[in-house]
Symmetry: C2
Subunit: 212 residues, 2 copies
Amino acid sequence: MTTNIDYSLYLVTDRGLTHGRDLIQLVMEAVQGGVTMVQIREKSCTSGEFFSTARELKKKLTTLGVPLLINDRADIALATGADGVHIGQKDVPYQAVRELLGPGKIIGISINTYDQLKVAAMSDVDYLSLSPVFPTPTKTDTSEPFGIEGLKKARSMTDKPLITIGGINRDNLSDVMATGMNGVAVVSAVCSAESPAEAAGDLIRIIRNNKL
Amino acid sequence: MTTNIDYSLYLVTDRGLTHGRDLIQLVMEAVQGGVTMVQIREKSCTSGEFFSTARELKKKLTTLGVPLLINDRADIALATGADGVHIGQKDVPYQAVRELLGPGKIIGISINTYDQLKVAAMSDVDYLSLSPVFPTPTKTDTSEPFGIEGLKKARSMTDKPLITIGGINRDNLSDVMATGMNGVAVVSAVCSAESPAEAAGDLIRIIRNNKL
């Protein structure tokens, strides 16, 4: 269990959405703009490329005090000294990942249903990511969106840090934050933005202004 | 560095080649037939399914004293107590995997060129897998086949355990073993066989009869 993490604006990478721009440079621009936490999600590149990207980003982000999480792969997290792992419901089970990482690392889990939320709320997982909040084209295997009312319901069910992901943009962000979320995760809103720094800056201002 | 491993007949799994049969049962039949070592290679299933398959196979294979290796993922190897990891040239680098696994586990590496062989021969990797020996439809990104003469050349370059993979069958197996290989790895020759046990039995007899 790790405390004092700023979940406000959590960037999840997607190499396919960067319009050919260098991923590491894009992430660093986004962090300069206001991203408080980064997760590398790689579903198509080689494991070697995943590892080298993570290692380089970890070095750069450590200097700035921004946590780096690795999607799914505890081995790459351990080998690069990353701050934790984000797992989905179909990844290696939480307890096995915790045993590999030890108590000092951050583990987050994607939550698609209230039943999954109940289970995760009783574990010592560090944060829950409600997914998706709105319909989104980024992931194809998503469940029924939570919606704003669903976020409120989820918030009432646990005191753990909650973030949410899926279709969040400047227009709906204040409503999302008003439900009591600790932060939001974004993919395309930053990865595909013409200026990732400006996009992150716009989002973090709204988040800070609307955080409960 | 691990010693006393029987590399003779090394089964590499491919869920796509089992004609819909249960992978674990198929592997166990193949082991009963003569397979001496198993590697789970999963390129399409979820990480959770990869983990649960590995965990179940590890339990069953431990009883029989047959080593289980995991393709690419040290986290799944560690979490399931598997005996080691097999990496390709584009996976997490060898040294990082060794640091994660520690000295007691087996690490094997795919070798596609003589330059790669020279590098790996000087490391403390446990075995080298020359790939491919013949043209093969199983992997799509393969390099120029080594061929029988290439195996002999490779054998002259290192004392490390050498296996080879790619297009091996009953007809060419004695020639392969006559080059001084410690064993061969097979995928479709066993995974796609009507009787994996009989296929493995046929192969291991030829291997034992032709091992230098």
